[in-house]
Symmetry: C2
Subunit: 117 residues, 2 copies
């Protein structure tokens, strides 16, 4: 079997809902639900809230990883969703997760690249 | 102050040293050392070794994150090094870390993109 490239979505999004960018609890609750809903396998995670606001989060999956880094003072979230297709085709799941996160943050898309790798 | 884009290195590298791709302990030891040497701030990490071989690792940093996903059967490592420039200019550090990981794996570079974000 040949290597099946996965889809890595690399996006910068903008949100004026600063409370969602200042603390990670709300997006963690969303991701906990969505990871299960999409049948992904979480191996571990790190969420870290900075003072006075902003957070960084990495969710390690069997399928690769999700990361978020927020800068509330710039109304900005830098988001990565990388799902491999090693055991199952996950490109559509990655795009759905991206849409769900954009909706959650009420965000505008500054830039979004989709890299097959 | 305006947002200072960081450097995200997104690379696929190839290594025939399968033992380095099968278990994470050796690269963890390297990264533990290099994170300190480069003055980066680790917030947490997840290393997960798969059976029969291969691993996934995400290192969460104040400066953003490092991730590695290996597929020994394809002699392949997909590597991300993303360091923000929020508190300090880190582009050169990111490039040095990349060179150090390529040297560690004795790797050939399949592809390498550098994204300012």
């Amino acid at each position: 079997m040949n290597y099946q490239p996965g889809l890595h979505i690399i996006a910068e999004i903008s949100s004026s809902q600063k409370h969602l960018l200042e603390r990670s609890a709300a997006v963690k609750a969303l991701l906990d639900t969505q990871v299960i809903k999409h049948g992904l396998s979480k191996l571990g995670e790190v969420y870290h809230d900075f003072e006075p606001g902003g957070f960084t989060a990495v969710i390690c999956l069997s399928e690769s990883h999700i990361s978020l880094h927020t800068w509330p003072e710039y109304e900005r979230v830098n988001l990565d969703i990388y799902l491999s297709n090693y055991q199952r085709y996950n490109d559509d799941t990655g795009r759905q997760l991206f849409d769900e996160l954009v909706a959650f943050f009420g965000a505008g898309i500054i830039s979004c690249q989709q890299i097959k790798r």
